[in-house]
C-alpha cells in the first residue's frame, strides 16, 4: 500500500511539473494553440469539403477571432474529442470544441464564460414508433428503447440520469454514428445537440426531429487551471465579441440563430461547482462499472479467441492441403484481414452490414470482428507449425493406409498445436488488450470505461491504478491457465490411445 501511495506522489509531482503556457507565453509565441477533434464534424470543426486540407466550422472562425483579440495567430491541434482536456498544458492552450459546461468541468478545469447555447434534440426515423418524447417513458414492443448518444457528451449524461425513461443508452465514439444506426434501424432514437443534426439533416432524410429540444446548456472554452491570465483574457475577449455583435454575425453566417444565441448567452444560467469525491467515494462509485467492463473484456477474449484459433487452423490446413482452387481464396482471406486495420473491419461489420439488412448486436459484431482478424494471424502460425512436423511422419501415416485428412487429424495437427503453443498464447494476450478497439462500435470494455470515467470524474491517476490492478487480476490467471494448458500438451498422454 505504501508503494502505491508512493506511485501516486510521483505521478502527482509529474503532473504538477508540466507548466502550462500562460498568457505571456502565448503572446511571446505569437500563437494560440487551440485543440479540437475535426472528426467530430460540423458545424463545429470539420475539413472543408471543397478543400479537405483546410478546416472550417464556426469554432474555427471563433478561434480566429479570439486569437486576433489576443494579438496572436490561431494554431489548430487535433485530438480525440473525449480526451481533448488531457492536451491542456501539454499540447494546447485551450479547448474549443462544443465542450458543455458541467459541474464536473467547473471543478476540474478553468471554464470560460459561455460562448454558445446548445439544445438537446431527440431524433427518430420518420416511419419509426418514437413520435413523442413521452413514448420513451413506457417500454416499446421489443422492450426498452435503444437510444444512441455521443460518448462523454451532455446528451449521454442527461439520458443516463433520466431514470423515468425505459431506455438503454448506447455511447458512440463518432458524432453521427448514432444517426447512421437509427437510420439503418439498429437504434430506435438518438439524442444530440440540435445544431449538429441540423447540419447533417440533408444526409439523413429518413430521420426527423421529435418535438422541440428538451434540455440544453452552454459550450465553454477550457483552459488549464494554472493559466489564470489566459483564462481571463479569453473571457474578456468573448465579452467583447458578444458586445460588438461579431459573435452574432458569425452565428448568423452559420445558420445558428444569432439573435436567439445572444439572448441566451446574456441570461447565462448559474451552474453549481461539483464537489471533489474522496478516494473511498470514488472507488465505491466507479468500481461496479469498472468490474462490469472488465467482465466484457474477458467475455470478448474468451469467445473470440477459440473461434480465431478454429478458423485459423482450418485456413492453414486448407491452404496447405486443400483443393487447388481454394488456395488463392484462402491466401486472399489472410492477406485482406492482415492488411487492413481491425478498427476498419469492426466498422464494416457493425455499420455496413445493417445496410444490407444484417444488423448484428454490438457484442456479436465485436466477437466476429476480433475472431476474423485474429484468425488470419493464427492461420499463419499454424501453417508454420504444420510445416515444422517432419514430412516423414506424413509419409509414414499414408503408408499405414491413413487418408490425407486422417493423417492431418491424428498426426500433423496434434503436433502442430503443441509446437505453436507459445506464439498462440502470446496472441491471446494481445487479443485481450485489443478488445479495447471494440469501443469504436459501442462495446464498452475496461479501457474505454476507464477513459470515460477518468474524464467525467477528473480522477485520472487514481482510476488508472484501479484499472491497472483489475487488468492484472485478469491477466495473471489467464497466464497461469495458458501455462497449465501448455504443460498438459507437453505431458506424455498416459495409458490408452488418444486423438
Amino acid at each position: 500500500m505504501k508503494s502505491l501511495l508512493g506511485a501516486f506522489a510521483v505521478v502527482g509531482w509529474l503532473t504538477a511539473a508540466t507548466v502550462a503556457a500562460d498568457l505571456d507565453e502565448v503572446v511571446a509565441r505569437g500563437e494560440l494553440i487551440w485543440a479540437a477533434d475535426q472528426e467530430g464534424g460540423g458545424p463545429h470543426v470539420f475539413p472543408d469539403p471543397a478543400d479537405p486540407r483546410r478546416l472550417t466550422g464556426f469554432e474555427v472562425e471563433l478561434a480566429a477571432l479570439l486569437a486576433e483579440e489576443l494579438g496572436v495567430k490561431p494554431r489548430f491541434q487535433q485530438g480525440q474529442w473525449d480526451r481533448l482536456p488531457l492536451l491542456l498544458g501539454r499540447a494546447a492552450d485551450c479547448v474549443i470544441n462544443g465542450i458543455e459546461l458541467t459541474p464536473e468541468r467547473l471543478r476540474d478545469y478553468s471554464c470560460s464564460r459561455p460562448y454558445f447555447a446548445y439544445s438537446l434534440q431527440l431524433l427518430a426515423r420518420r416511419d419509426g414508433r418514437v413520435d413523442a418524447f413521452h413514448t420513451l417513458a413506457a417500454p416499446g414492443p421489443e422492450g426498452r428503447w435503444r437510444v444512441g448518444v455521443l460518448t462523454g457528451s451532455a446528451a449521454e449524461s442527461v439520458m443516463r440520469s433520466r431514470s423515468d425513461l425505459e431506455v438503454d443508452v448506447i455511447g458512440y465514439d463518432g458524432t453521427i454514428d448514432s444517426l447512421e444506426q437509427v437510420s439503418s434501424g439498429v437504434l430506435d432514437a438518438a439524442v444530440m445537440d440540435d445544431c449538429i443534426f441540423n447540419f447533417y439533416a440533408d444526409r439523413f432524410s429518413r430521420l426527423r426531429t421529435v418535438e422541440r429540444p428538451f434540455a440544453g446548456g452552454f459550450y465553454t472554452i477550457l483552459t488549464a487551471r494554472d493559466t489564470p491570465k489566459l483564462s481571463a483574457a479569453i473571457d474578456a475577449a468573448i465579452g467583447r465579441l458578444i458586445a460588438d455583435g461579431r459573435l452574432k454575425s458569425l452565428y448568423d453566417r452559420w445558420d445558428l440563430a444569432g439573435r436567439q444565441q445572444m439572448l441566451m448567452l446574456r441570461e447565462g444560467a448559474e451552474i453549481p461547482v461539483a464537489r471533489r469525491k474522496t478516494l473511498g467515494e470514488l472507488v465505491r462509485d466507479t468500481l461496479p462499472l469498472l468490474l462490469k467492463s472488465a467482465g466484457m473484456t474477458v467475455l470478448l477474449s474468451c469467445l473470440a479467441f477459440p473461434l480465431a484459433v478454429g478458423i485459423g487452423l482450418a485456413v492453414a490446413v486448407g491452404r496447405m492441403h486443400g483443393p487447388r482452387w481454394l488456395k488463392p481464396l484462402l491466401t486472399g482471406y489472410v492477406e485482406v484481414l492482415r492488411g487492413t486495420p481491425l478498427m476498419l473491419q469492426l466498422y464494416a461489420i457493425f455499420f455496413l452490414l445493417p445496410k444490407i439488412g444484417l444488423a448484428l448486436p454490438a457484442v456479436v459484431a465485436a466477437v466476429i470482428g476480433l475472431a476474423l482478424n485474429y484468425s488470419a494471424y493464427e492461420s499463419e502460425i499454424y501453417r508454420a507449425g504444420l510445416k515444422a512436423v517432419p514430412l516423414g511422419q506424413f509419409e509414414a501415416s499414408l503408408s499405414l493406409g491413413l487418408s490425407k485428412w486422417q493423417a492431418l487429424r491424428y498426426v500433423l495437427v496434434p503436433q502442430a498445436v503443441r509446437i505453436v503453443m507459445p506464439p498462440v498464447t502470446s496472441d491471446f494476450i494481445a487479443l485481450f488488450k485489443d478488445t479495447s478497439v471494440c469501443s469504436a462500435i459501442t462495446v464498452i470494455e475496461l479501457t474505454k470505461r476507464y477513459s470515460v470515467l477518468a474524464l467525467s470524474t477528473g480522477r485520472i491517476v487514481e482510476l488508472a491504478v484501479v484499472t491497472a490492478v483489475l487488468y492484472l487480476c485478469m491477466s495473471w490467471p489467464l497466464a497461469l491457465l495458458s501455462r497449465w494448458f501448455e504443460r498438459q500438451l507437453e505431458r506424455p498422454a498416459a495409458g490408452g490411445t488418444e486423438g
Partner: protein, 225 residues
C-alpha cells in the same frame, strides 16, 4: 504377390528407373542392393504409391498400379496390405510407442481403442519392447524406435512389408537388434522387399538379391550365389 513390369520413371530428364521388371512370390524376401542413386529406394516407394511412375505397371498384394497419378482410394486400400518401414523411423513424436502401433488399426481398420492397444502391446512384445509401451519416441534409442516402427507397420497385418534401408541410420549394435527382428519375420514367411547396403543381411535373410545400377537391373540372383 509382387509383379513389376517395365517400370520407367524420369526425374528432371534423368531416368531414375529404366525398364525395371521383377517378381516376388509369396513368402519370399527380395533384397534390393546397389550404390546410392541407383534407384532402389525410388523403386520401393513406387511399390506402395508414395511415388508415381511414367510407364509400366505394378501388381502388389492383388492391387494394380498404373503409370501416372493414383486415385487416393486405391492407395488407401493398397497400403492396408503393404506396410513400410523407413530409414528415419518416422515415429509419431506425440504418441507413445503403444499408441504409434495402435493408431492405424484404430483409425483405418476401426478397431476399438482397447482392441487396438492389445494388438499394439502384442506386437511390441514380439519386437522385445513390451516394457517401453508408454515411452515417447524421443526417449527411445534408434534401434528401439526402428523396432517400434516395424511393429507399427505389422499392426495392419500387411501381406507385403517394404523396408527402406532400415538399418542405415543405426550403429552396428542397434542395427543387429533390428536385423534380428527382420530375420525373424522372414522365417515366419512374411513377404518382404528390403532395400539395403548390408550384403551380410542379404545373404542371411533374402531369398533373392536384385542389384540395381543407374536405374536398371544389373544383376539378379538367388541369395548366397
Amino acid at each position: 504377390m509382387i509383379t513389376v513390369s517395365s517400370l520407367t520413371k524420369s526425374r528432371a530428364q534423368v531416368r531414375v528407373l529404366d525398364d525395371v521388371s521383377l517378381e516376388g512370390a509369396e513368402g519370399t524376401v527380395t533384397a534390393l542392393v546397389g550404390p546410392s542413386g541407383s534407384g532402389k529406394s525410388t523403386l520401393l516407394r513406387c511399390l506402395n504409391g508414395l511415388e508415381t511412375f511414367d510407364a509400366g505397371q505394378i501388381t502388389i498384394a492383388g492391387h494394380r498400379l498404373a503409370a501416372g497419378p493414383h486415385a487416393p482410394g486405391l492407395l488407401e486400400r493398397l497400403r492396408r496390405d503393404v506396410g513400410m518401414v523407413f530409414q528415419q523411423f518416422n515415429l509419431f513424436a506425440h504418441l507413445s510407442a503403444a499408441e504409434n502401433v495402435a493408431l492405424a488399426p484404430r483409425v483405418v481398420l476401426g478397431l476399438s481403442a482397447s482392441d487396438a492397444r492389445a494388438r499394439g502391446l502384442d506386437l511390441l512384445d514380439r519386437v522385445g519392447l513390451r516394457s517401453f509401451a508408454d515411452a515417447r519416441p524421443a526417449t527411445l534409442s534408434g534401434g528401439q524406435q526402428q523396432r517400434v516402427a516395424i511393429a507399427r507397420a505389422l499392426a495392419m497385418r500387411p501381406r507385403v512389408m517394404l523396408f527402406d534401408e532400415p538399418t542405415s541410420a543405426l550403429d552396428p549394435a542397434m542395427a543387429a537388434e533390428v536385423m534380428e527382428v527382420i530375420v525373424e519375420l522372414a522365417r515366419a514367411g512374411q513377404t518382404m522387399v528390403v532395400v539395403t547396403h548390408d550384403h551380410g543381411f542379404a545373404r542371411r535373410a533374402a531369398s533373392r538379391v536384385v542389384e540395381l545400377a543407374a536405374g536398371r537391373i544389373a544383376r539378379e540372383g538367388l541369395a548366397g550365389a
